[in-house]
Assembly symmetry: D2
Homo-oligomer: 346 residues x 4
Amino acid sequence: MIKVGVVGATGYAGAELVRLLSRHPKVELTMLTSQTYAGKPMWEVFPHLYGIVDNTLEELNIPKLVANCDVIFTALPHGHAMPIAQEVMKKSKRLIDLGADFRLKDVNIYQAWYKTEHTAQLLLNNAVYGLPELYREIIKQSVIVANPGCYPTSVILGLAPLLTNEMVDTKTLIIDAKSGVSGAGRGLSLKTHFSETTNNFQAYGVATHRHTPEIEQELALLAGNPVTVSFTPHLTPMIRGILSTIYASLINNVTTEELTAIYRQFYQGERFVRVLPAGMYPTTKGVAGSNHCDISVTVDVRTKRVIVLSAIDNLIKGAAGQAVQNLNVMLGLPEDTALDFAGIYP
Amino acid sequence: MIKVGVVGATGYAGAELVRLLSRHPKVELTMLTSQTYAGKPMWEVFPHLYGIVDNTLEELNIPKLVANCDVIFTALPHGHAMPIAQEVMKKSKRLIDLGADFRLKDVNIYQAWYKTEHTAQLLLNNAVYGLPELYREIIKQSVIVANPGCYPTSVILGLAPLLTNEMVDTKTLIIDAKSGVSGAGRGLSLKTHFSETTNNFQAYGVATHRHTPEIEQELALLAGNPVTVSFTPHLTPMIRGILSTIYASLINNVTTEELTAIYRQFYQGERFVRVLPAGMYPTTKGVAGSNHCDISVTVDVRTKRVIVLSAIDNLIKGAAGQAVQNLNVMLGLPEDTALDFAGIYP
Amino acid sequence: MIKVGVVGATGYAGAELVRLLSRHPKVELTMLTSQTYAGKPMWEVFPHLYGIVDNTLEELNIPKLVANCDVIFTALPHGHAMPIAQEVMKKSKRLIDLGADFRLKDVNIYQAWYKTEHTAQLLLNNAVYGLPELYREIIKQSVIVANPGCYPTSVILGLAPLLTNEMVDTKTLIIDAKSGVSGAGRGLSLKTHFSETTNNFQAYGVATHRHTPEIEQELALLAGNPVTVSFTPHLTPMIRGILSTIYASLINNVTTEELTAIYRQFYQGERFVRVLPAGMYPTTKGVAGSNHCDISVTVDVRTKRVIVLSAIDNLIKGAAGQAVQNLNVMLGLPEDTALDFAGIYP
Amino acid sequence: MIKVGVVGATGYAGAELVRLLSRHPKVELTMLTSQTYAGKPMWEVFPHLYGIVDNTLEELNIPKLVANCDVIFTALPHGHAMPIAQEVMKKSKRLIDLGADFRLKDVNIYQAWYKTEHTAQLLLNNAVYGLPELYREIIKQSVIVANPGCYPTSVILGLAPLLTNEMVDTKTLIIDAKSGVSGAGRGLSLKTHFSETTNNFQAYGVATHRHTPEIEQELALLAGNPVTVSFTPHLTPMIRGILSTIYASLINNVTTEELTAIYRQFYQGERFVRVLPAGMYPTTKGVAGSNHCDISVTVDVRTKRVIVLSAIDNLIKGAAGQAVQNLNVMLGLPEDTALDFAGIYP
């Protein structure tokens, strides 16, 4: 059994990790940490785990954590995974970080967008951007997996076939993304207060959201050229799910059916990316509760644009599920171990 | 592999059965029928099953169905399971009916509340009320399992320890129950229309709901005496979940802690009933997506009443999950086969 | 113009008061106070009031407040209205308190349930329980109006005709009440966190909620005898609305139609109480956004119980609207001044 | 008093009209028609109007309707207002059509997008596009007012200052719009079924929605040149509200503050358009229940694009409220007669 630690187990991504890992046949949940709830049993904080997860939450003690665990998942605000990564390197363990600390290869960009110093720059060479559909082989051998952000996951998977095949003008990329409220975490704020958010729809972080450089980095690698995008996230009155609506100008004439075929070929054999038949659009409910990313492509002949729709569950394929998928890749297990379920509908 | 048919596969209970059974290691989904969608693939109606369930929906053909399947699940309006049951008996197959046709032992009561003739009265002797926590041994050998209604499941499990131990005055039972909207099914009506139901809370079927005689039958068996209850269901603006708030006058003085201990003893060893520690109340979110029934008991010393709270997911423990649990009992499998998951939270 | 102050203007009840009073033809909004947002314009906190309410929020300064205003509304946690009431008395102004400080006539009961000392006991004689349908004449001349709690409003209006006419056994009263989340206020907590509350239904304060003694006081006055009730509140995943489901054993045989007629007679001429025709049940959506209380009565002949359903908008008839209604009564204005609107539907 | 008829009074836009007009001091609700509910009182269909609107619903009888009413509102599917308009012209009455029949000036475009013949082409000269902020003077004297679509209202008001001032490249306009479910009407469908729509977000009508030509017509008039746009509507799990996120490439450098000032000047004196201060974004909750359109503009210097956010209540400024505003313009009344209220929050 692999001994696993989850740091930040009582945030939504952390708790989802615990739920998924509790059913993983090769994993032993060795240590769960929580700043707020240390000393309490996990089920007292998350009643769905009553009778299922027996762990008591602990204060974070980095040496103890790294000594006791083979693989460590960090689900923390940015900046907090760096010291853990240092210790992981020293002790030759492995780290899957659900935060932003190891996603951006350019430290200057990290510091400009996150307004904080990067204190583990040397480790960036040991880190891989953990999108298995693109970087599976590198993930297998990496010490640090930088689990992608939720929005970037939906956007990069949605655009990869177009950019790889050089089919769109990369100067025209506009990403209008919508997320459920769980993406804002379990921390209390008016933005996540029931009466403020229910029956409400709003944009936030217009032209300033921190997932922008992460998206641009990965799209540039796919396109082979620098890419600048407009990215507008919106808060949607639902718990789980992201739908990204992506616009790009097509370079050549192509039909919806042809594009759909190109996408299907690109994602052939992928367990978790479902390219929908032409005319069927993804919905967040169709993926909620699962590790799927559902994608459709539609050509608008009037404007010569393509509209890509890409849907994920932000807590699963956008966070905890993808992290487990990365674990499976690292361990050489079938990629859907502990992830072999359909979403919950309705 | 057990060959299984699901009749009425595109209602919510039917689709949930298909989802659960698609992961059952001993089951082969042999036949899925749908009146509305016959000829279409299941995933076209339920996008979460795209790539997971390949069956095409068929018209119901009873002889063919029974010939091809070992066990048949019916998820149909009342009255429609009777002819299927006749054929199942003839061919020595087995039936799990999620409808009301075989729940009431007294045909007159059935006919009075359901306003329709019972055309398979002889089969009632071969039927068992399929609440495994009470009737496990009989279920093992029954031809027909009458899967309980959603409300009755929450109520009967909530009251069984009190009635068995003769702790309450059975003339004082008041059940105030609240259900998510999926309980009203996938059929279209203003009651289930998004804009009418969202941000709305209402009672329905006041003093006339058809689950009343089912509740009374089972409570009477537990109490050893006839029982008449007040039962008021309410429509709650959420998708899944039932919470029943149950009031009863206590015969003797007893504390919350003592009652909790009695409940824990009663349900000892039960995989799916979770008696919560004193002071912790069940929530529908704590059970949504799982086969659990969460129960708390609180003594109100001012009024000498006990307040029982009982929560289930109406589509799982209240329908499809319980049906799979019954299948497992019938087949001698571990009761949580294909049901060994926590709920989804948040 | 009447000069009005609202203390606690940025809670939900306070903000609703400001919205209603901003359209009141006899009122000038003279002073709005807020502990959290003092110094900001009201519209920065509540965007719906942008361009409509120009007031800047102020720190509470009791002498200044009372000097500058004719009528003061307090929408504060319990305990905080007492010092303001003292000053109001001294300066011969008038107070409408939306909190609990002047609702209970018995100081011992107040102190037992609210766990705090009552420091303005002498003023209780100058206070009236502000339910205009019962106490209109006294309200006209009172210095202090104790605006009723949201749950008690729905319950007392729902039971008044039955108790006044001595039609039920007061030992059998059970009140199962359900409230929207705005009733829990604008303060942040996990109970009001979007992802915890959406798609969730739960009881809280079982057998211990502070509205219990308020309900019992008023029911006892109506019945002419002490009354003890079971009262269970529930949190419902909607923003506005309370539905109380009330059970009582009938003393004599009576039909639904007869009871409905008795209710209609009792509330004849009342602008805001709507007794629904037999067979029509109130919904929270039918009253949301209005000052109405919708009531139905149903006799269950099987159990000889009556089931009363009573619905209000907790922020309007349950708080700010009733406060404005009380203001109108105090000032001798038509009772529906600034309240003459239907609810918003859907 | 102006005698008013509402045709299609039991759809959501129709019912909202009835609610608003019931409080209009110059209006008498003379005739309400409904195909589905003729013969029933309005309040039986819409319980919020119990005790407020006494009208009984009638079958549509065009000659009788036009004879008895001075102004007629039609809230019908496209195609159905044409015969009523013919009669209105003959009898010199006036019509406000909330449908699409008189919005498009080019009959060929109407027929191409609506797939139906236009049978009242001669009347198009007597019709005006009823957006008072742009066409107030013409509305005053028109026989037929084509009340704008909900999406177009938000988009045209959001873009008018930019296009009038020739500040953006009209070939780059991308409109990503999100609507509450009430926009899909009261007709039953799976798209509006509670359990399918709650906690779900999805696009629909990608590149094919019928509001596209309406938007393009009006933007072209503002720009002085033909305009082609990408327009993608999305269904959002909330009842009321539209937020349109609009992207356009700026021709010259300009700051957010400069643009905001240009918008404020453009809409100076407009009662219902609120240009928000720089840094404050509109939310659908901030306008829900009111006739406001809230707008923000943000310049993204990285991409040289402007992002306009425009929010309305789809049933008020997007339908019934705007229709009442048009009535007020036609009658020479203050434009906010019966519309002088803030939204409801939360």
